[in-house]
Each structure stands twice: as structure tokens, then as C-alpha cells.
């Protein structure tokens, strides 16, 4: 089986995000970028499946600017076999990404696509679901355990209030959650080898997708800072405040 793993280049999770001075978005100039952490988990999952003999080839794909190459090389250094960069410099919304990925899937014919449940920059949590809909494939989202046997996949999903076990038909879309695995570090020899692995460059036009944004960002602002707390005198006071002031009870 071939596995397709889409990966996204995002602001590194250690970076303190700052809003641009004109409120038009997040400051990206001179900011450290790296692979979306959920995508690292997806790559790791694919590699483990390959190590277990369930997968023959891992293809990673990224839609983004030229620098997304670095993100793809990271995935290759972890253990993916081949990479595709669909070059695009402007914002691409989840629907456009899903349409491009549909094109890639039709070209590559993978038996499974593993995506991160969301990207930590815009937190959309949409691409995997949209791709499943576009392809008409089954989907197992927020996976914390995956077991493939024949043409079905058992997926343990992290849902509000617990875990849900589902069984879906292959080919399928799976999106990964935090507890699925702990991604490996790329070893030095693999970083050296990654340099020689194939990386194809494509353009959005190759897939005939219109990437014009359908949303307009009105304003980006910092979340309000935490307000100072109050010390309550009794449980009764706490309950009354929660009910009347906070409105959460």
C-alpha cells in the first residue's frame, strides 16, 4: 500500500506569536517556521506502518511557498520516500488545499491518506474532512490508535468526553491527534540521505484548482490578557458568581 501524508509549514510551536502592527494578520517576517506538529505525528505513523510491513511507499506532499521544501526534506529525513511540492505563495484555504490534494490522490492512488487533525496556525480542522467528502472516502478523524487489517481500518478517536472506536472501509482518510505517537528525531545519516530523495515540484495550475480565498480577514487581534482573579469567601459565593456573573452554571 502507498500512503500519502500532506504536511504544512507553519510558525514553529515555540515562537511567541505577534500580531502585525496593521492588524492584518500574524507577523511572519523573520519568524522560525517548521512542520505542523500534527503532521509530524502523521509522518511518524506512516513510517511505523512501513516498518511494520503494512506500507511500501510514503509520499509526502505540501502546498505552499518554495520554503516548504525544507518541511518536505524534514519528512524525508524522518523516513518518507518521496515528496511533492505544490507551489503556491498566497494563502490557500482548507477547501482549496483539499481540492489540490484530491488531484494528488487521483494521480498517486494511495490506499490511505494521513493528515494532521489541524494546523496550529489557523486551527481550521477542515482539510481532512473536506478531502474525504471530495473523494467520497470514509474518514477516521482525531485518531489516537490505528489498526489496519485488509480493507478495513480500526480507529480509536479522541472525542469530547472519551474515546470512540470505529471501523472504516479502506481507502480512507485518517487525521491524527496528539496521543497517537511521539515523532522521532531525524538521524544524521537520514538527513544526509534525504538530500538525495526525489522531490517533485508542481503548480496549483497542474490540478486546475481555483485558490481564490472565499473568506476575508477583517481584523487580527491578540486575545485579551487574563484579568486579575478574586478570592471568594465561601462555596456559596463561588456558586452564585459562577451562576450570575460568569453565567456558566
Amino acid at each position: 500500500m502507498k500512503v500519502l501524508v500532506p504536511v504544512k509549514r507553519v510558525v514553529d510551536y515555540n515562537v511567541k506569536i505577534r500580531v502585525k502592527s496593521d492588524d492584518s494578520g500574524v507577523e511572519l517576517a523573520n519568524v522560525k517556521m517548521s512542520m505542523n506538529p500534527f503532521d509530524e505525528i502523521s509522518v511518524e505513523q506512516a513510517i511505523r506502518m512501513k516498518e511494520a510491513g503494512q506500507v511500501e511507499e510514503i509520499v509526502v506532499v505540501s502546498v505552499g511557498p518554495q520554503q516548504s521544501q525544507e518541511t518536505l526534506r524534514t519528512a524525508l529525513a524522518m523516513g518518507a520516500d518521496r515528496a511533492i511540492l505544490v507551489k503556491h505563495d498566497d494563502v490557500v484555504e482548507p477547501l482549496a488545499v483539499a481540492k489540490i490534494l484530491k488531484g494528488v490522490v487521483e494521480e498517486e492512488n494511495p490506499g490511505l491518506v494521513i493528515l494532521g487533525k489541524q494546523a496550529i496556525d489557523d486551527d481550521s480542522n477542515q482539510t481532512g474532512q473536506m478531502l474525504a467528502a471530495l473523494l467520497g472516502w470514509s474518514q477516521g478523524t482525531f485518531a489516537s490508535e490505528i489498526e489496519i487489517s485488509g480493507d478495513t481500518a480500526k480507529v480509536k478517536r479522541e472525542v469530547d468526553g472519551g474515546l470512540q472506536n470505529i471501523e472504516i472501509k479502506m481507502p480512507a482518510i485518517i487525521t491524527t491527534d496528539l496521543r497517537l505517537n511521539e515523532p522521532r528525531y531525524a538521524s544524521l545519516p537520514n538527513i544526509m540521505k534525504a538530500k538525495k530523495k526525489p522531490l517533485d515540484e508542481k503548480s496549483v495550475g497542474d490540478y486546475g484548482v481555483d485558490t481564490a480565498p472565499r473568506l476575508t480577514v477583517v481584523k487580527t487581534e491578540e486575545p485579551e490578557g487574563r484579568k486579575a482573579g478574586v478570592i471568594v469567601g465561601s462555596v456559596e459565593e463561588l456558586v452564585s458568581k459562577l451562576k450570575n456573573e460568569a453565567g456558566v452554571l
Binding site: 525544507e70 526534506r73 524534514t74 528525531y185 531525524a186 538521524s187 544524521l188 538527513i191
Partner: protein
């Protein structure tokens, strides 16, 4: 906690030291800038996420000794295993023995990250690196076949056994003996002290490199030979055999680097084997042991310099983070509610900027030295000689200046933390304790200064140092024509600094030629500091000039020039006038 400053390090090795030029001019093999970035990125992740979290554990537990066996702190063994599994030990080793043969600039960049995570951890691979270099340059093919691949991978570690109780800075006093055997091997007898990772539980074998004297060897440094002495002898099929007659009889209780075992090693006591004497094999020629050591000395000394940079970086990051959180008092530049974060106080800003600037200046010196080592391995004979001398010139400065500022910066870091800085739990004091040893081992900084003034300045009849100053001059020329207001008074101050350095150099050269050794020796340390200060300052300008658009590097250069490099003239005076004042005052010191 420490996060490897990958972009800053990449900028320093590529644009200040010159790796980008080397890549463009075909001096760096298949290496590309992308690959450099990818390697630094991944090394940075390992250092930040795996090594740094072990720093305090290592410090609190330390290594312990029981019945001749050393136990490293909890988690240390697994950390080392993961690190070698990542292939990091093999970064610079030769390809035919499993190494990646990457340049010294990259090896030093990685060394910085490991040591910033934990210097006590970083020390182990550093000593193995020394052993690898000695093997590569001088070991016989037979010895290489048995030991080399495992040293390159880090499967086995190396240790360096020079120091004896009566022989520290002065290795001529060394007494350990080696007796030749009929089969071509030697039996080693003697006691070595302060041997870093001389014994530990992280690998199943250790290859000790030991300096000892043959029975008929001439006295002094010309009678010292180098031997490879494994902890366990190795069978023909590569499996481990008998325990060799060497063991660790004691561990030192130290100021810092607690996790790194500092061992007293006993050779040939008859504790193991059928007859006394640790079995060893000659590396290089008889009586040429110190020469063998010298081939790796540049790298080893440079690596210690890099430890200074590493500690300085870690201490700086911690202090900056703290200064943004801790609130005390009011500041004219703080208009928020309540007390100001201390980072708004000018005195704290001076401290933090000093830490940052010293760290980057020392880093630039170290990586420039590493670049010179790389360049000395390619090109024409003439080029090789030029760069090899450049590396030799910069080595003592890289070692001493960087470890001096490592200590200074760590100490300023404690100050920034106030009372909390003195409390161990805070994690600022450990940098100060760990940094201190780097000024002492691998040739004390005083010995480095003597090496600089007596051996390095006269190289190629002064042409080597003159060419270096020319290079610094050409950076100043670029600075002059840059017309960038963010540099403030940098141009004038750095130019005066270089003038002071040149004048002090001329003075020293004259005194040396006139045989006034006392003056030369008295001036050595202030001269070395002057050398580091001025070249470091000019490198900060180079770094800023190489980053188009970003003004913060120019601002840091300006801060360093206007607050530190202007002290160059005072150092020049100390060089030129110090000795006379010693002479009259020193009589009171001697019993």
C-alpha cells in the same frame, strides 16, 4: 529552558566564519546551505528537547563510584544511546569508518548545542572526538581495524590521559612508563589524575589514549609516546575479551560538571590480568606522543572554547527570560500597570546586552577558527599553510577568550537573577559552576596566552598575524562605507581598537626579538584579552553587515563597541606597561 539558537548559529558559521563562501567556491564537498540548515535544525531539536532537560538531574545526582565502577546519573545512559543512535557522534569522522566527514564548522556548531544543553554531557563526546582525530592521523591500520569504527560511531568512547599529579601544565614532568613486549604491544604503568569520563557505564568499552615514557626515552617532552589502552581487550572476532589492567580508583568532588566523572586512573597495578601492566599499543612513532597530541590540540582547544560560548548562550537565554518576568520598581521606559519587568531597567539592559554581545563575539571567533581548520584541508599547499597557521593563531584566542567570557557571562546571569541567582534550584548558578573548568583544562588560559605571544605571533615571521589584521581592516573598510546610522560610533571605536591591537603586537614582537622574555610573559594575558575583544567586536560588525535589513545586529555591534571595545586602549597600556609594575611589586609574593 535552553533552546538552540539555530538561526543565529547558522548565520555565524555561514556568513561570519565563511562556510557559505567555502560552499560557493567548492571547498565544502557536496555540502549545501540547505543541508547545513537541516543538520543544525535537527541537532538543535535534540539538544533542546533531550539534553537540556537532563541538565539539573545530572548536576544533582552526579556520577558515583563503587568498587571501581562509575554510575552516571539516571537517564544519562539512555540519553547517550539515543544520541549515538541519531548518528551525531559520527558527524565529523572519516567516511570509510562510518563517519559523515562534515566540516569542523558544523562539528563545532553541534558541539555548541550539546554543551549548551549540558556541558557535563557534551564533555564525553568531546573527548571521543579527540581520540578519533588522534586515531585518524596516527594510528596503524591494524589498530584502526579494531577500534576506529566503534569510536567514530560512539559505540565506544575515548578518554585522554595526560595529567599526572606532578605533571599538569608541564607535561615534561610526566612519569607513566611503557614497557615494550615481544609481540609488539606495550605494558603501561602509572597513575593519571583528573581523567574525564575515564570510567563510566554508558558504553561497554572505553579506549584510553595514554601518554607514557619508554624505558630509554630522553627526558622532557621529547621522550613521551602515545598509547591506545582499551578498558577491555578485543578478541580477533571483534568481541570483548579480558579486562585490561586499568581501573578507576577515585572520583573528584568538584565545583561543577558533576555528571562528568573526573577519574583517577591506575595503570598496571596488577588488579586485572595474569601479570601486571595494562596492555597498550603505540599510536604514531615512539617519543613523538606530544606531536601526535598536537595534531588534535587545535580542535580540542577550540572545542573547549565552544563550551564557553555554549554556557554563555544558555546563561543569556535564561537571564533574558527571567528579566521579562520578574517585576520590581519603576522605570522611565515602563508605562504599564504596577511594577516594571526588570528588563526595563537600564542597568539590567546593560547586563543582558553585555551577555548577548560577548556570546556572539566569542562565537564568531570560534567559528572563524573552525573555518580556518576546514580551509587548511583543501586547496594548494600554500593555501593550506596559510589557513593552518590562521587556525593556530586563533586557537588560543578562541579557547581562552570564549571560556573567560563564558564564566563572566554566567556570573552576570546570576546577578540578573538577584537572590534567586544564588539559589541552586533556579538553575542560573549551575552555569557559573560548570563554566569555570573550561578556563582551566586543555591548557589553562594563562598557558594559552603564552602560546599566543611566544609561538603564534612569530609564525611566518609575523606574516600570519599581519594577514589576519588585514582581513579585520577590510571588514572595517566595509563598515566605513556602509553609512548605516545604526552602527553609531562603531567605526571609529573599532578602528582605534584595531590600532591598539596592532601597536601591542608590534611592541610584543620587539620585546621578543630583544629577548625580554619577562615582559612578553607578563603581557601575555592582557594581550590575549585585547585580541579577543577587538576581533570579536569587528566580527559583530561583519555579522551585521552580512544581514541586510536587520538593524538589531548593527545595534548590538554598536553597544559592544561603545561599551566594551573602547576599553582596548587601556588593555594596550596594560600590555606595554604591565611588566615594570610587576617587577617592583612581585617580590612581596615569594616566600
Amino acid at each position: 529552558m535552553y533552546r538552540a539558537p539555530v538561526d543565529e548559529i547558522a548565520h555565524a558559521i555561514k556568513h561570519v566564519a565563511g562556510l557559505s563562501n567555502a560552499i560557493d567556491n567548492g571547498h565544502a564537498g557536496e555540502l549545501s546551505e540547505d543541508l547545513v540548515d537541516a543538520i543544525l535544525e535537527e541537532a538543535g531539536k535534540f539538544a533542546s528537547d533531550e539534553i537540556a532537560p537532563m541538565l539539573m538531574v545530572g548536576d544533582q545526582h552526579g556520577s558515583t563510584l563503587k568498587d571501581g565502577s562509575v554510575t552516571t546519573p539516571p537517564g544519562w545512559k539512555e540519553l547517550y544511546r539515543n544520541w549515538i543512535d541519531g548518528g551525531w557522534n559520527a558527524l565529523s569522522g572519516p567516511e570509510e569508518f562510518g563517519g559523515q566527514n562534515l566540516p569542523s564548522t558544523l562539528a563545532m556548531a553541534a558541539t555548541e548545542m550539546w554543551n549548551a544543553g549540558s556541558m557535563a554531557f557534551g564533555l564525553c563526546p568531546m573527548l571521543t572526538m579527540g581520540a578519533i582525530e588522534a586515531f585518524e592521523a596516527h594510528a596503524s591500520d591494524e589498530l584502526k581495524a579494531i577500534y576506529f569504527e566503534k569510536l567514530v560511531s560512539g559505540e565506544w568512547t575515548g578518554s585522554m590521559n595526560l595529567t599526572e599529579p606532578q605533571a599538569g601544565s608541564d607535561l615534561a614532568a610526566l612519569k607513566s612508563r611503557a614497557e615494550p613486549q615481544d609481540d609488539g604491544s606495550y605494558r603501561i604503568f602509572g597513575q593519571k589524575i583528573y581523567i574525564t569520563y575515564g570510567e563510566h557505564d554508558m558504553t561497554d568499552n572505553i579506549v584510553h589514549l595514554v601518554l607514557a615514557r619508554l624505558p630509554d626515552a630522553p627526558a622532557g617532552t621529547r621522550g613521551i609516546s602515545l598509547f591506545a589502552v582499551p578498558k577491555f581487550l578485543v578478541n580477533e572476532d571483534g568481541s570483548l575479551g579480558e579486562r585490561n589492567d586499568v581501573f578507576c580508583s577515585g572520583l573528584e568532588h568538584k565545583l561543577g560538571v558533576h555528571a562528568s566523572p573526573t577519574c583517577t586512573m591506575i595503570y598496571g597495578d596488577g588488579k586485572f590480568g595474569d601479570k601486571p601492566g595494562a596492555i597498550g599499543w603505540l599510536i604514531g612513532e615512539e617519543n613523538r606522543g606530544l606531536n601526535c597530541m598536537f595534531t588534535m590540540m587545535n580542535n580540542a582547544r577550540l572545542a573547549v572554547g565552544v563550551q564557553g560560548v555554549a554556557i554563555a548562550e544558555a546563561a543569556t537565554q535564561k537571564a533574558i527570560a527571567f528579566a521579562n518576568e520578574r517585576k520590581q520598581g519603576k522605570s522611565p521606559s515602563w508605562d504599564g500597570e504596577g511594577m516594571a519587568p526588570i528588563v526595563y531597567h537600564p542597568d539590567i539592559q546593560r547586563n543582558l546586552l553585555t551577555m548577548k554581545a560577548l556570546t556572539q563575539a566569542a562565537r564568531a571567533i570560534c567559528y572563524s577558527c573552525a573555518h580556518a581548520i576546514d580551509m587548511s584541508k583543501t586547496g594548494s599547499d600554500e593555501d593550506r599553510k596559510f589557513w593552518s597557521e590562521r587556525a593556530s593563531l586563533l586557537t588560543p584566542v578562541a579557547k581562552a577568550y570564549s571560556t573567560d567570557i563564558g564564566s563572566d557571562v554566567a556570573s552576570i546571569g546570576v546577578q540578573v537573577h538577584g537572590g534567586m541567582g544564588f539559589i541552586e534550584e533556579t538553575g542560573a548558578a549551575i552555569f557559573m559552576r560548570d563554566a569555570r573548568i573550561a578556563q582551566i583544562y586543555e591548557g589553562t588560559n594563562g598557558i594559552q596566552a603564552i602560546d599566543l605571544v611566544q609561538r603564534k605571533l612569530p609564525m611566518s615571521d609575523g606574516q600570519c598575524v599581519a594577514a589576519y589584521f588585514d582581513e579585520l581592516d577590510s571588514i572595517l573598510e566595509q563598515l566605513r562605507t556602509s553609512n548605516e546610522p545604526a552602527f553609531g560610533n562603531s567605526t571609529a571605536i573599532l578602528s582605534d581598537g584595531l590600532k591598539a591591537l596592532k601597536s601591542a603586537t608590534d611592541w610584543l614582537t620587539e620585546k621578543s626579538k630583544a629577548g625580554e622574555t619577562q615582559h612578553v610573559l607578563a603581557a601575555a594575558t592582557p594581550y590575549q584579552t585585547l585580541f579577543g575583544l577587538v576581533s570579536g567586536g569587528i566580527y559583530l560588525a561583519k555579522s551585521a553587515l552580512a544581514s541586510s535589513g536587520a538593524k538589531d545586529r548593527a545595534a548590538l555591534c554598536r553597544f559592544f563597541a561603545e561599551n566594551h571595545v573602547n576599553g582596548a586602549v587601556a588593555l594596550q597600556n596594560r600590555v606595554e606597561q604591565g611588566a615594570d609594575s610587576f617587577e617592583s611589586a612581585a617580590a612581596s609574593l615569594v616566600d
